[in-house]
Symmetry: C2
Subunit: 476 residues, 2 copies
């Protein structure tokens, strides 16, 4: 453990033990430097670590304070999806959500769109516009089917943070995480097979399950611990499941991060039943915990985990630069990538590789983690303020997505229709189920810097929900 | 008909009738201007048209001459593939071909790579590096699932040249033609279905057929007229064929363009049996005929043709900008695109749209057509010079690919192995068959400007083929 980590650990445990309370001013940098006999720079580094961990927050010209952490909100209960494999439906609602972001003047609260306006992305823009100096024609040529070697090297390096030891040759660059997921799903299944998924689950992978003639077996999922291993085990005994598709770190839409022990147990379970695990780690680097949690892939001892990710949520989705580390299924994933797109666009790959190499990725990540942590707390506070009693809210451990479960029989598809005149769109819960569950739920996005406009929009959603509740009461 | 077209038509028919012979000097611009009573500019325009049609060629400071056209080479015979639906094989050889372009120092004669070094592509490079002025963040955001409106508008405009009347809303932008093809194939089939293909056929679409659990029914194909409609009709009667996948204009690998009457008949046949047509038009704009031949889509009266194309062969494959006009199957293709990649990379789309809008596409196309026409004739001459008697060669009507059929029992996979020490790779014929036919064939690429190095390489291939023939004779 480095010196600054020691200082941070000691200060952190004092905060955890209540020695300093929420909102308290923490010791000055100079005081701590004297107390521990370390340099000012070391203390500064320690405070930055505490900031990353969400324990301390700086106030301009005043020093560091213990971060005001809201109490954990009232969480949703463990989900109870259908107990048999199902065909995935609701494509028309997915399409509607995807298109909602394209209408000018509409505040699309449901989309999985990061904030792309941060100044820490400027070097990436420069890298894109400069191309690869002295090699300007390379962007015109087919890239290697596996993806540019420079980028694969950087991805391998970054994956160390998630506890992985990947070689650049283990990695296949894809057109966004969606291609990584769909190529992985197709690589390990045949039409008619069943894929077990966490529930609620990302609609993109579920639509791939639908498109390939597969069925989804939704597994009960806990908003703190993730997919129920007990229910999964029963399902594996009962159905011809070929793969388990989960988003275990900063889950979409529930926001939890599975504890490490459960990640390990999931790998054991997959080994016992000899099935593949498709791990969606797209929000993993945006964890509010620092260093970030380990991926399931890091516990993968017999190469059965297909790790899927992309730069869409940390950097910018318009680049369409994603990647897979498909373990023993690498050749099949390459075949599916060839069949699907032949190669990924060359220029964005080279620009991202350059941006990471020059340290831009880590700088940008640090900034966005802080912004999203703040956004989470503010949005939770707003939902608690404006939404009716009995509303349950997720407590995201990273990323920028909030899951809200409304009381009563409120249908969020209807809610969305009613919000249309106000220019507000939310992400209806049905999209996250194979079978139309979660009608009373919605996904919200807190990636934008908190603003009065967003607060007003949440207030408006709250008013509409209250009205719908009253109408339901009147009928009943 | 415009004035310059009248002049060109008259002069063209004199050439066709033998009034002027190959290599003859044509009348001077001034003489023609006097003869027809038209302006010098009109005659210049007429000569440019004749140049586009491959009838005349300018010589610096000397005027226009009748283009030296080689006699049609000895063409391959009509193909005779297996008479039943088959699973597609040979992925490992496709992969080998794809990777061959990545090894430095290897002359990859088999790849479908255009010349990307032309100065007429410079404005496209500029458009890429400038991004969209004043809207620099747009490249970071998700593009519309259907593709950028600017680009769809330009694609609709260009498609008029192929006789189509498409609205921008009819078009779906894809990650290269490969995504257009695979999304189209998947949109109109279910696992277990049969797809009829021309034969030899593009390996990319055949690998998609394989990946989706379909079977390919290879139809005998004539090197002048294209897919045999008679054999196709028999196959449609006999097998559960759901779609016909063809490359009717500047075919890959055979180079023919189906006559218009046969294109019409193909549409009628598809109507009678109620099947979809997936038309690969990726080389269509590179036709040596001017104006370019009509696409099958232009005869499509009940929206059953899924037209697939891209800018990979005319501009640059590294952009990965393709498109589909899927007719009545548009929504299914959109779903497959969402499942496969969610959206295409934003920046390359905007750059291509700007390049077309400013006239860069037409300028570049004119130049490349002339270069590839010259390349074709030189490569045919080299193959006739260096390859053994009995070699048959295609006579490409556009694009930059040559198909060569060797005499005797020569296996071009073996030939490729033997050429490896010389740093030369050809495209083995087996890739173009579902079932390992065309072992004695190869595909060659004449997109690069003719060079001494390429001539030497072709000579080397010829020597190797001669040696293999002698070895076979010795054994027999």
């Amino acid at each position: 453990m480095k010196l600054y980590e020691q200082v941070a650990t000691e200060l952190g445990s004092r905060i955890e033990q209540g020695f300093y309370r929420c909102g308290d001013r923490l010791p000055s940098i100079r005081a701590l430097s004297r107390e521990h006999g370390v340099s000012v720079a070391t203390v500064q580094e320690a405070y930055r670590l505490l900031e990353d961990q969400g324990l301390a927050q700086p106030k301009p010209k005043s020093g560091y304070y213990v971060r005001l952490r809201p109490a954990t909100p009232q969480l949703p209960e463990i989900s109870r999806p259908a107990q048999r494999p199902l065909e995935v439906s609701h494509w028309e609602h997915v399409l509607d959500l995807l298109c909602s972001g394209e209408t000018p003047g509409v505040l699309s609260l449901g989309r999985g769109m990061p904030d792309i306006t941060a100044t820490t992305l400027k070097p990436l823009q420069r890298a894109l516009s400069e191309g690869k100096r002295g090699d300007s024609l390379r962007g015109f040529a087919y890239d290697s089917l596996q993806g540019s070697p420079e980028l694969r090297q950087q991805v391998a390096r970054l994956s160390i943070d998630a506890g992985c030891k990947l070689h650049p040759d283990d990695i296949v660059i894809t057109t966004g995480c969606q291609e990584a997921l769909s190529a992985s799903i197709r690589a390990v299944t045949q039409p008619g097979d069943v894929v077990a998924v966490d529930s609620p689950s990302f609609f993109g992978s579920m639509q791939a399950i639908k498109a390939f003639g597969l069925k989804a077996m939704e597994i009960p999922t806990d908003p703190v611990n993730g997919i129920s291993l007990e229910a999964l085990e029963l399902a594996l005994e009962q159905w011809p499941i070929r793969a388990i598709q989960v988003t275990p770190t900063c889950n979409n839409p529930l926001g939890y991060t599975m504890p490490e022990t459960r990640k390990r147990q999931l790998v054991s379970l997959a080994q016992r039943f000899d099935v593949a695990i498709i791990e969606d780690d797209i929000y993993g680097d945006l964890s509010f915990q620092f260093p970030r949690p380990r991926s399931i892939k890091s516990f993968d001892i017999d190469d059965r985990v297909l790790l899927c990710s992309s730069f869409s949520k940390v950097l910018a989705p318009g680049l369409r630069v994603g990647w897979a580390a498909p373990g023993r299924y690498r050749d099949q994933v390459m075949h599916m990538k060839y069949v699907g797109t032949a190669a990924s666009s060359t220029l964005p790959q080279l620009a991202v590789a350059e941006f990471i190499e020059k340290g831009g990725y880590e700088r940008h990540l640090r900034r966005m983690r802080a912004q999203y942590l703040d956004g989470r707390d503010q949005m939770i506070a707003a939902v608690e303020r404006y939404f009716p009693a009995g509303t349950r809210i997720s407590y995201p451990q990273g990323g920028f997505l909030l899951w809200v479960e409304l009381p009563g029989d409120i249908d969020t598809l209807q809610l969305n229709d009613r919000l249309q005149p106000n220019g507000i769109r939310i992400g209806p819960g049905v999209l996250f189920s194979a079978s139309g569950k979660y009608r009373n739920c919605m996904r919200l996005n807190f990636s934008d810097k908190p603003s009065a406009a967003q607060d007003r929009a949440l207030q408006q959603v709250g008013i509409e929900v209250q009205q719908m509740l009253q109408e339901i009461d009147r009928v009943a």
